[in-house]
């Protein structure tokens, strides 16, 4: 068949090239934003590009309502946006090759490690994408931890969310698929899926375990209040939703800590349960336990807490025994010794631990719910802290850090504008206190409990009297150390 130049705008070779270009272009769109079809099934993810129209969430920053530029701001300022691309840098390469030495010479193996171990938290990915054997595209990594990681896979609620009756807490019913980011517990849950981990949520394994820490990944010490403060807001900071967060820092911290402990217990239980069906899943999983219980200086002069001084550590933290999740359990007085022992691998098997972990998780889930409704008295928290510290210095870095966080929340609730608590205390907790010291390891070896005790007492004593009177709560969280 002849091509009529008058009817056809391109010559046949050009037309063929155009068709091929089009095919490549269209297929690249689907590969890059290929959340639409996976394994022959429609993915529940729609991808952040779906949100990015300038009339939806891609407007110019600080123009119009906050929802209109939420994505633009998130892309520019939120560290989650670049979380995926981090996996291509040198630090990540070092971690992956430490995990799997063959990855140093094989891009395929390298990508396999990223898929199996990393992208479930570092990107918004589906289970099939994590299991795939294909090379990992930069495009998938560049998604980062995007909208649907925190707000839920959007295919089920995308149409509904623009309706005017899409209001209130009923939006967060499980059947809608929209995740709760407005309640304190809901927002904590969103973070904890990765910042503590889970082996069940969304069908993904988000398990940052001891293997990864040993390879160089930082240990996870999540704190809802600080992380929420540090997250560049892509929402309306003056809206009613944020009032619950601004109203009481102590409440946010208490809910966050209870939720974190609940999530950590759930993860421990899942690890134990999965180990029973798959011995390849490590158990005991060492990241469940206090790092510094084992990782102590071998220098006798720096060995701060010898086992002989058991009375200094009723929770036996950092005394060489693997105490379960010190970061989450410090000060949680409702956590009974029995439960704590049930979570200790030297005392219990995997099956029993899975059951015990489930109980602890439920208990602290309920406590988080209770704390969200509770009222907190910052003045009494400060008094309790002062009382505890006057009796003795913190037993270890963990306890000092939690004391610092509690005091920080209480001072914030007192609305003291001149507080220098952070400036005074936080530097004492730095792992790397010497800015010139370039160390690979995060260790509190140079932490001095006595120095911290003195500074904390000075800060709490010299703090101007609180100018906000908060009604005493029926249940005031304390930093007391007895379970």
């Amino acid at each position: 068949m002849k091509c009529n130049p008058g009817l056809c705008c391109v010559s046949p070779p050009d037309f063929g090239r155009l068709v091929i270009q089009l095919m490549i272009f269209v297929s690249s769109i689907f590969i890059i934003f290929g959340e639409a079809v996976a394994d022959g099934q429609e993915s529940p993810l729609v991808g952040r590009a779906s949100c990015a129209a300038s009339t939806c969430h891609g407007g110019a920053v600080d123009r119009g309502p906050a929802w209109n530029h939420a994505l633009t701001k998130w892309l520019a300022q939120d560290p989650h946006a670049g979380a995926g691309l981090l996996l291509r840098d040198e630090d990540s390469r070092a971690i992956v090759t430490a995990l799997e030495p063959q990855a140093a010479d094989s891009k395929e193996i390298f990508d396999q490690v990223l898929r199996k171990r990393c992208i479930s938290c570092h990107t918004t990915a589906t289970a099939s994408e994590c299991k795939s054997d294909q090379r990992l595209t930069d495009a998938l990594l560049a998604r980062g931890v995007s909208c649907e990681s925190c707000h839920g896979a959007a295919r089920s609620w995308l149409a509904a969310h623009v309706q005017s009756d899409w209001q209130g807490s009923q939006r967060f019913q499980p059947q809608t698929g929209l995740l709760d980011t407005e309640s304190v517990i809901g927002r904590a849950d969103g973070c904890l899926r990765c910042h503590v981990g889970s082996r069940r949520e969304d069908g993904l394994i988000r398990d940052m375990n001891h293997d990864l820490i040993a390879a160089g990944h930082p240990a996870l010490r999540f704190d809802l209040l600080l992380y929420n403060e540090n997250l560049p807001s892509h929402w309306d900071e003056s809206g009613t939703v944020e009032q619950a967060f601004d109203e009481s820092a102590l409440r946010v911290r208490s809910v966050g800590r209870a939720s974190s402990l609940s999530a950590a217990a759930a993860l421990s239980g899942q690890r134990a349960a999965d180990h029973q069906s798959d011995p390849g899943v490590p158990w005991p999983e060492l990241s469940d336990y206090d790092c510094f219980a084992c990782h102590q200086s071998l220098s006798i002069s720096e060995y701060r807490l010898p086992a002989s001084e058991k009375n200094r550590s009723p929770l036996r933290i950092s005394d060489g025994l693997p105490i379960w999740n010190a970061w989450h359990t410090i000060g949680q007085k409702e956590l009974s010794r029995k439960n704590l022992q049930a979570l200790s691998p030297q005392r219990i098997g995997a099956k029993a631990m899975a059951a015990a972990a489930s109980n602890v998780s439920s208990q602290y889930r309920q406590q988080a719910i209770n704390h969200e409704k509770a009222t907190f008295d910052p003045q009494s928290v400060i008094e309790q802290l002062r009382s505890v510290l006057q009796d003795s210095p913190p037993r270890d870095w963990h306890e000092a850090a939690i004391q610092y966080l509690s005091a920080d929340a209480a001072v914030r609730d007192l609305k003291s504008k001149q507080s220098t608590l952070r400036e005074q205390l936080e530097p004492l907790l730095r792992f790397n206190r010497d800015a010139n010291e370039n160390t690979l390891y995060q260790s509190p070896a140079k932490f001095d409990p006595n120095e911290f005790q003195k500074a904390m007492l000075d800060a709490l004593t010299s703090r101007p009297p609180g100018d906000v009177a908060v009604t005493s709560a029926a249940e005031v969280p304390t930093i007391t150390d007895q379970p």
Binding site: T72, L86, R221
Partner: protein
């Protein structure tokens, strides 16, 4: 009659050979004839002697030709017999001379003369057949009456070869659906830009019962006054009407049609992203602020990639955007402190740019098809060598004057472009739906003068009469410019 006269006596009053006698009347008549001939001869001699001039004119020229009033030879040829012994002129020579004279100024093609059957080619088609001048100063030379058109169009099969255009009806004698037929070029929408007219006509451009309405504050700052209605604040909803996007303009095809079609208001300005879309639909790079510019529309992708790279790097340098390796935070984390910034914030990886590009392309596909956003398509669009994605003219075989209809509500002809109460929500786009009314929207007014006004039209012009001419030349032009195929 006297009672005593006989019939013979009465007949003898007139001589029986009276017609053989030349009386005074005869001589008077002859004298007049001679005098007339002499006068005519003298006048002819005078006219010939003085070069003719206005003495041969049938009337004053129209005002557009008044400069030729005394320069007849601009159009007319001196009498030249075919041969010295013949008193007859060559018609072809005469016609071609006049046409050549007209075409000195009016360079137009014939009207499908090549399609005429042999018999019709011999019919005099001198310009003056339709554009007869010497009819007075105020004569509109373009006012061609319908019978001149229907000479041929009442039955083209008798006039043209079979090789005529299939979109032109063979028998058109009136302007109505039955005879003229509906407008052929409105049968389908060749547009390739996905768009939802109804949604854009709703307050805030969202369906009733939907959130996310567009407010004045969400518009580009420099364009807010363009769309702000009287008394509106920044939080009020953007309300559009037809004129928000459709402004009067000359004929976009003016380079291929006759002058006059360029008159302001005869057509509408072509839709342009920068003028009509960008206030709401700006192409924002990641982190774009009020102080920075959006990306250009319809630029080659290599240029967009470079701009994205520089914009991201610039925002990082300014501190309004974060590098992937930057883990600084305002509140120190116990143990870790404030984190550390990236070493070189100006480095934007190829992967970042590539993904930002692809994200931009996904935005493009909300309005465009994939074939329209390839580099090749963009470059041909920039060069002006491609077909516009939105037709500049919809009535390809006729012309329409929006300005002449400005008193009418746009909904009369474009009802489908407006929100419909019966429709619960808008379709995703209507770019395949023609939203221009057919001939049924024209004929109620453009009707024969003796046809009464149909019912229901009284409000169309606030009670004013609705009759309008049904002349063919209101919408159709006979000629095209030289070399242009209609």
């Amino acid at each position: 009659m006297s009672a005593g006269q006989t019939g013979k006596q009465r007949s003898q009053r007139i001589q029986i050979d009276y017609f053989r006698h030349r009386g005074g009347l005869f001589y008077l008549r002859c004298g007049c004839i001679v005098a007339g001939l002499v006068a005519a001869g003298l006048y002819g001699a005078l006219v010939i002697g003085r070069g003719g001039g206005s003495h041969l004119s049938t009337g004053p020229l129209a005002v557009v030709h008044v400069s030729f009033e005394n320069d007849c030879q601009q159009c007319h040829q001196d009498f030249t017999p075919l041969a010295s012994d013949a008193f007859r002129i060559d018609p072809e020579s005469s016609v071609s001379h006049t046409e050549q004279a007209c075409q000195k100024c009016h360079q137009v093609d014939g009207h499908h003369r090549d399609l005429l059957l042999a018999d019709w080619k011999m019919v005099d088609q001198n310009c003056a057949i339709c554009h007869a001048d010497h009819q007075g100063r105020q004569r509109d030379l373009t006012a061609v009456v319908n019978p001149l058109c229907s000479q041929c169009h009442s039955d083209l099969s008798k006039v043209c070869t079979a090789n005529r255009s299939p979109v032109v009806r063979d028998q058109v004698s009136r302007f109505d659906l039955e005879s003229h037929g509906d407008f052929a070029s409105l049968k389908s929408d060749p547009g390739r830009v996905k768009f939802d007219h109804r949604q854009h006509m709703l307050p805030g451009q969202v369906d009733p019962g939907s959130k996310g309405a567009m407010t004045v504050s969400m518009l580009e700052a420099t364009r807010r006054e363009q769309y702000r209605r009287a008394g509106q604040g920044n939080d009020d909803l953007v309300s559009l009407d037809c004129s928000s996007c459709h402004q009067f303009a000359g004929n976009p095809d003016a380079h291929v049609v006759l002058a006059g079609d360029q008159e302001l208001g005869r057509y509408l300005k072509p839709i342009s992203f920068d003028q009509h879309c960008s206030a709401c639909h700006s192409m924002n790079p990641p982190g774009r602020t009020e102080d920075t510019l959006p990306l250009p529309h319809a630029a080659p992708w290599s240029e967009i990639g470079l701009l994205l790279q520089t914009k991201i790097a610039g925002l990082r340098q300014l501190g309004t955007a974060r590098s992937p390796r930057d883990d600084t935070q305002p509140a120190p984390i116990p143990g870790e402190g404030f984190g550390s910034a990236a070493n070189n914030v100006s480095i934007v990886s190829a992967a970042e740019v590539d993904v930002a590009l692809k994200a931009m392309q996904v935005q493009c596909l909300k309005c465009h098809d994939s074939a329209s956003i390839t580099d090749e398509a963009i470059n041909t669009a920039l060069a002006g060598t491609s077909t516009p994605l939105i037709p500049a003219r919809w009535l390809r075989h006729g012309i329409y004057d929006h300005a002449a209809h400005r008193k009418m509500d746009c909904r009369y002809c474009h009802a489908d472009a407006y929100p419909n109460e019966a429709m619960s929500s808008s379709p995703p786009d209507d770019h395949q739906q023609v939203m221009i009314g057919g001939i049924e929207t024209c004929t109620p007014c453009h009707r024969p003068a003796d046809v009464a006004e149909p019912e229901g039209l009284s409000d169309l012009f606030s009670g004013q009469p609705t009759w309008a001419s049904d002349d063919c030349i209101l919408c159709h032009r006979y000629h095209t410019s030289v070399g242009v195929k209609r």
